[in-house]
Symmetry: C2
Subunit: 338 residues, 2 copies
DNA sequence: GACTAATTGAGACACGTGTCTCAAAACAAG
DNA sequence: CTTGTTTTGAGACACGTGTCTCAATTAGTC
């Protein structure tokens, strides 16, 4: 049987009230007494029974995911997994709500974050582009005791508590795969992004270029084409580029591969060229199976969601998490390992 | 606030004692009363507070991992992660012990499993080669109420409750990668395993051949070389094969890549040929970085360990798990996404 | 040594559920 | 209706921890 606070009290030669004072860091205990209790803790290997403590405190864990409003498939996957996780969380007295806000309105996001207090919520996972307003709001959340966790889209301020992948490495992985699949062929690589204004896109592109330049000098990575999420624009820029030069491969670094890939299909390219995209969605899975995509670089949406929740819980409990579990892997998907 | 059994009792118009009788399926309650309680459960959305229940029952979760005694690096990774998980488990009143048994002694394993009862243990994760003795012992464990979960090495009896990857798909993934990395080159593929007697090896080889035959007809997959875990034998068979024909690629399907890769290195091959191996270990990571390995197909050891624990816990609580979380992915590792 | 302030102890009650016991009520059979 | 059996209720206590209150002890000061 695990030692209890009663055992602690007995071994330390104090009362349960004093043990409680020490365990919960209350005032008015002599250093000597504190030491005696701590020694008893070590001696017995005492570990507080969290469930009993939470029961006594009527504590539950309430978290919120603040996500963009845009309808991107990858985002939908994330939301699906947050909701799925919810069904299990309830057994552990936890909840996870989703709030969708306009990602281009930093004031709006900051305003919402400003309404959150420890009364209503224990922590927030925030997926939003970097902005001074949001950064500020996060700082103030922390001051108020609400845990804030940057989620998927990076925020510079972040010490190291965030959930997501190293996008430079993801780009490098795409580069390696694309280069090797081309097998020494010479040629141009079409690169399509939604916008190069976001940090994620820049980092992916950077990692990609690094690999291409150093390991595949016979490939030429063309300037990034930006679709701004518009199908028409995607069609226009890709057609224009493809008509001017021969394309050997395409790297779609946006998290939404649907538009660009449709255009490539219309141009009849996928059969001849090597195509790499990001993020697993029902759409990219299908494209892998059909051969329109050769590889997908992805971060597991379910893992992202659950990792965020685990991290937030660890933060509220002031515990640490397993580093190896929370490292989000850069997955490579082929038709064979779906 | 979440509804409690008290609320249930009030709404159903019965006493707390009766609510308990229904919730825990005790005898001697009229069907009509049962229905009334169940309706109240639905109406209130009642979910039993597991922590409180476990506290009242003084329940903890004790699990055992039965693992082979052999010193394979991959196994060591698994053990490391089980121990690492232990440090977190303690907060949830769980424990996970490791017992190492001679994997070639099915009687010994069965005998050990025979000693386990619900008195001492709630569940066992078993990594052992298939054998009638072990299969039998597992059946009897289940009869006694001890949850048993085949772990990493498959057991045919398995309904679908087991933890591990689809080794056929893993072999196919290796094949795709190796074929595509070779980029249309013609040649022989060296295949090295520890033994082809194990189900895992056979399945990997099967998946590999399928892909090579259908998608890379210009490659010839040579007969599997078996090392039987001996470095000398590895050296002998690989040298012999390499001297007889030109090798374009090597596929090491054993979970221990050290031996074969050392031999290949001595032969000066890794620079010229494409090499694919299995399982992430400090050794294979290093080989990826140095370029001696081009790709590693792997199953995340930490994920395996934690998934087994989650599944065992779900089994004892008679709950279901998140399918998406428990699906062990076939990871592809390159130097770029370590 | 007396006085005050700081420190500690004893005990009660709560959290939500499980598990008893014993009595009361409802029901069925004759 | 009585009798015996089933079904239900009321209440107590337990699990390990948190949070009070009030009294008792100890330490520090002059």
């Amino acid at each position: 049987m695990r030692p209890t606070t009663k055992d602690l009290a007995k071994v330390a030669g104090v009362s349960r009230a004093t043990v409680d004072r020490v365990l919960n860091g209350r005032e008015g205990v002599k250093q000597k007494t504190i030491d005696r209790v701590n020694e008893a803790i070590r001696e017995l290997g005492f570990v507080r029974n969290l469930s009993a403590a939470n029961l006594a405190k009527k504590k539950s864990y309430r978290y919120v995911f603040v996500l963009p409003r845009s309808g991107d498939l990858f985002l939908q996957e994330i939301m699906r997994h947050v909701r799925e996780a919810e069904t299990i969380l309830v057994d552990d007295m936890m909840s996870a709500d989703i709030v969708q806000l306009d990602e281009n309105d930093p004031h709006g996001i900051a305003a919402y974050l400003g309404t959150l207090t420890t009364e209503t919520v224990d922590g927030v996972a925030i997926m939003a582009p970097e902005s001074p307003q949001v950064r500020d709001a996060i700082v103030r959340l922390n001051e108020r005791g609400v845990r804030a966790l940057p989620f998927v889209s990076n925020q510079t301020l972040t010490d190291n508590d965030w959930v997501g992948i190293d996008n430079r490495a993801a780009g490098a992985t795409a580069g390696t795969l694309l280069g090797r699949f081309l097998g020494g062929v010479e040629g141009n690589v079409l690169i399509v992004s939604e916008t190069m204004k976001s940090r994620d896109s820049l980092e992916r592109r950077f990692g990609f270029d690094q690999v291409i330049n150093s390991q595949f000098p016979r490939l030429r990575a063309l300037p990034s084409l930006e679709t701004y999420g518009s199908m028409d624009r995607a069609e226009a820029v890709i057609r224009a580029t493809a008509s001017r030069q021969k394309i050997a491969a395409a790297y779609i670094l946006a998290s939404e591969a649907r538009g660009p890939l449709t255009v490539l299909r219309e141009l009849g390219l996928p059969g001849d060229i090597v195509t790499v995209a990001h993020e697993r969605t029902p759409y990219t899975e299908e494209a892998l199976r059909s051969g329109d995509l050769d590889a997908v670089i992805s971060q597991d949406a379910g893992h992202l969601a659950r990792s965020a929740i685990r991290k937030l819980k660890a933060m509220t409990d002031r515990r640490s998490t397993l580093l190896s579990q929370e490292k989000i892997r850069i997955e490579i998907l082929l038709a064979a390992n779906l």
